[in-house]
């Protein structure tokens, strides 16, 4: 009995000692030793990383803002083959101002012809960008929507007939409590989301 007690205490002390040794060196706030640290904190400028003050740019940032008046080039698809084999070029310089939702409703039409694939892609984009507020079925019951409040039900009477231009304009500029999502989804993606929102307006 006594011998086994000793063994147990010995084993316990070894375990404690080794855990202390193995864990004492780790600090969550430190990356630990690095071989060739210049490879981790590059001297060359990198996107989304800056580890020391930039001495050339006045504000100390590596990143520079574009010159005032710069127009971004579209880095997404703008030319779509229609069902009647014509091609619609959605070279949209979308310059309707925020308060022109009525104009958007009349003038804009989805340049992407409906297809299962387009709607499916719209669904994926909806799940990434809209679902947490608007809910899985567009009923306004997403987890964030419940806290944020004021998220409508797409299938309700006032919303079920909203057309392409309206939905596109709302994603671009926001409406009511919703803010602009133009920086997160580009026009091509917005048009795909429009297809899926039309599906949700059916309410099933």
């Amino acid at each position: 009995m006594k011998v086994s007690l000793k063994n147990i205490s010995l084993a316990l002390s070894i375990v404690t000692f080794s855990t202390v040794v193995l864990t004492s060196c780790s600090d969550n706030n430190s990356t630990g030793w690095e071989f060739a640290p210049n490879m981790y904190n590059s001297r060359a400028y990198e996107p989304l990383t800056q580890w020391r003050k930039n001495i050339i740019n006045a504000d100390g940032k590596d990143m520079r803002s574009p010159v005032a008046g710069t127009i971004s080039r579209a880095n997404y698809q703008t030319s779509f083959l229609q069902d009647d084999s014509t091609v619609v070029n959605d070279l949209m310089v979308y310059n309707l101002p925020k308060d022109s939702i009525a104009v958007a409703e009349v003038t804009l039409k989805n340049p992407i012809p409906w297809s299962d694939k387009a709607e499916e892609e719209g669904k994926v984009l909806y799940e990434r960008n809209c679902l947490h507020c608007h809910g899985e079925k567009g009923a306004g019951d997403g987890a964030v929507g419940k806290v944020y409040k004021g998220v409508p039900n797409y299938a309700s009477d006032a919303y079920k007939n909203m057309n392409d231009g309206h939905i596109f304009h709302v994603i671009t500029y926001g409406k009511g409590r919703m803010w602009s999502h133009a920086s997160q989804v580009n026009p091509e993606e917005r048009w795909k989301i429009v297809h899926y929102v039309h599906r949700l307006q059916l309410g099933n």
């Binding site: 009995m1 000793k6 205490s9 010995l10 070894i14 000692f17 080794s18 040794v21 193995l22 060196c25 780790s26 969550n28 706030n29 430190s30 990356t31 630990g32 030793w33 690095e34 071989f35 060739a36 210049n38 490879m39 981790y40 590059s42 060359a44 996107p47 989304l48 990383t49 940032k61 799940e127 990434r128 960008n129 679902l131 947490h132 306004g140 997403g142 987890a143 964030v144 806290v147 944020y148 409040k149 004021g150 998220v151 409508p152 039900n153 299938a155 309700s156 009477d157 006032a158 919303y159 009511g176 409590r177 803010w179 602009s180 999502h181 920086s183 997160q184």
Partner: protein
């Protein structure tokens, strides 16, 4: 164990201990039964109260039922039936404030009423920060009347609750709390019993060892006994050499581990300038990773969200929190938030998010672990070359419906029976990642 040893000690002592244990058992059982009974009865009371409240809603006929459906579908997103402000004003007592004709007009065309110069409408519009109410032009008299009937019936019992339903509602509201309290008390009692049982066992062991060692030891205090036994252990040669060897082995292992860990940031979880919780945002709120990390399916970098994305929700949610105020300060002073980068590959290796997420179909958690459970983000994977290569050896190329891979898959199946792995597609080529 106890049974075996107690056969050595006197029979009367054994009987005494067993009796003691039995008593504990009985006591424990009765407490458990009592707590179960109490919790069940409280649950029953709570359930009864909730049903009585539901049935207490005044009967208004089919109108109310229809109004309820309409209200929940169209109005509940912004208005409560109580006086609580959700987005727009609470609707309790709305019919006392405005007459029917005005309400009907307003619901059909709120902006029209505001445009007509109606004083009340304009004040309301300004009071709620010029938030436009959706026009429900399709609602006729029937719809508006049933909605109003529902609002009236739903807001009435709440308004009169302090008078009529005070006795009934109070236990229902606190029922959940009492239930938890009962569970807590029961747990405490159980813990106390366990403590008592442990003490009993300790006493028993003491008695047994006392019987082994003889009467001489009993005069020594516990501390002295402990000291003596430590001296015994330290004097033992085998023990000493074992400790030395254990130390040498551990030191060797620690050295090797340390050397292998150079440049590996696994476990790195730096404190961030804003205490952003992925557990809350990605876990509880179920916000998709790509909502904030917008580049993750499109580019090399997944990206760190700019403050405007935070503001999509935090223009309204938790504005007064000091952590959220840091975002406001960053925007107002036009200074970027200096997040600390967690996952950082050395420049000698190239990694592209889009290739892995969009083309390869990997999920974020494959490499980043369960981010949705992390209060502070930690680097879970080692990001060593061995870790990359291991996955490239195991993973199959998902070439389904991907024209880019069609001919490659064909060529692969011509020479090999197995599925095409990433390594068959040059996933082990040095220059794929090192150039």
């Amino acid at each position: 164990m106890i049974e075996n040893n107690s056969s050595v000690v006197l029979q009367s002592e054994k009987v005494g201990i067993l009796h003691y244990i039995n008593m504990i058992r009985k006591f424990y059982k009765s407490i458990l039964a009592l707590s179960v009974a109490v919790s069940i009865s409280i649950g029953y009371v709570a359930a009864q109260d909730s049903t009585s409240i539901a049935s207490a809603a005044p009967a208004g006929g089919g109108d109310v039922a229809k109004g309820e459906g309409l209200f929940k579908n169209n109005c509940a997103q912004c208005h409560a039936v109580t006086a609580e402000v959700v987005v727009g004003p609470g609707l309790a007592g709305i019919e006392e404030r405005r007459d029917y004709a005005w309400l009907k007009n307003w619901i059909n065309n709120p902006m029209g009423v505001i445009g007509s110069g109606d004083k009340y409408a304009n004040e309301l519009y300004l009071k709620y920060n010029k938030t436009q109410m959706t026009a429900f032009a399709a609602f006729g008299d029937e719809e508006v009347k049933s909605i109003l009937a529902y609002v009236k019936s739903a807001s009435t019992p709440v308004a009169t609750a302090p008078v009529a339903g005070a006795v009934a509602t109070t236990p229902a509201e606190t029922g959940g709390g009492t239930f938890i309290n009962v569970i807590l008390v029961a747990l405490l009692v159980i813990m106390g019993l366990v403590l008592v049982a442990l003490l009993g066992i300790l006493q028993l062991l003491n008695r047994l060892s006392g019987a082994d060692a003889g009467a001489a030891d009993t005069s020594l205090s516990f501390g002295e006994k402990l000291q003596a036994s430590f001296k015994n252990i330290a004097a033992n040669k085998t023990v000493r050499s074992a400790i030395v060897w254990a130390f040498i082995l551990l030191a060797t292992k620690a050295t090797f581990d340390g050397m292998y860990g150079i440049g590996v940031h696994q476990g790195y979880a730096p404190k961030q300038p804003i205490a952003f919780s992925h557990k809350l945002h990605a876990g509880e709120m179920k916000i998709n990773c790509a909502y904030c990390h917008t580049g993750v399916y499109k580019g090399k970098q997944s990206g760190i969200p700019s403050a405007n994305i935070c503001m999509n929700c935090h223009n309204a949610i938790k504005r007064e929190s000091p952590e959220i105020q840091k975002i406001y300060t960053a925007i107002e002073t036009n200074k970027p938030i200096e997040w600390v980068r967690v996952h950082n590959l050395p420049d000698l290796a190239y990694f592209n998010h889009a290739q892995h997420t969009n083309v390869g179909g990997l999920e974020c958690k494959n490499c980043h672990g369960e981010i949705e459970k992390m209060e502070v983000v930690q680097q879970r994977s080692s990001l060593t070359m061995g870790w990359c290569i291991d996955c490239h050896r195991k993973s199959e190329v998902n070439g389904k419906d991907n024209g880019y891979y069609a001919k490659l898959m064909e060529a692969h199946s011509a020479v090999s029976k197995g599925a095409m792995k990433v390594q068959d597609n040059g996933g082990l080529e040095c220059a794929k990642c090192h150039y």
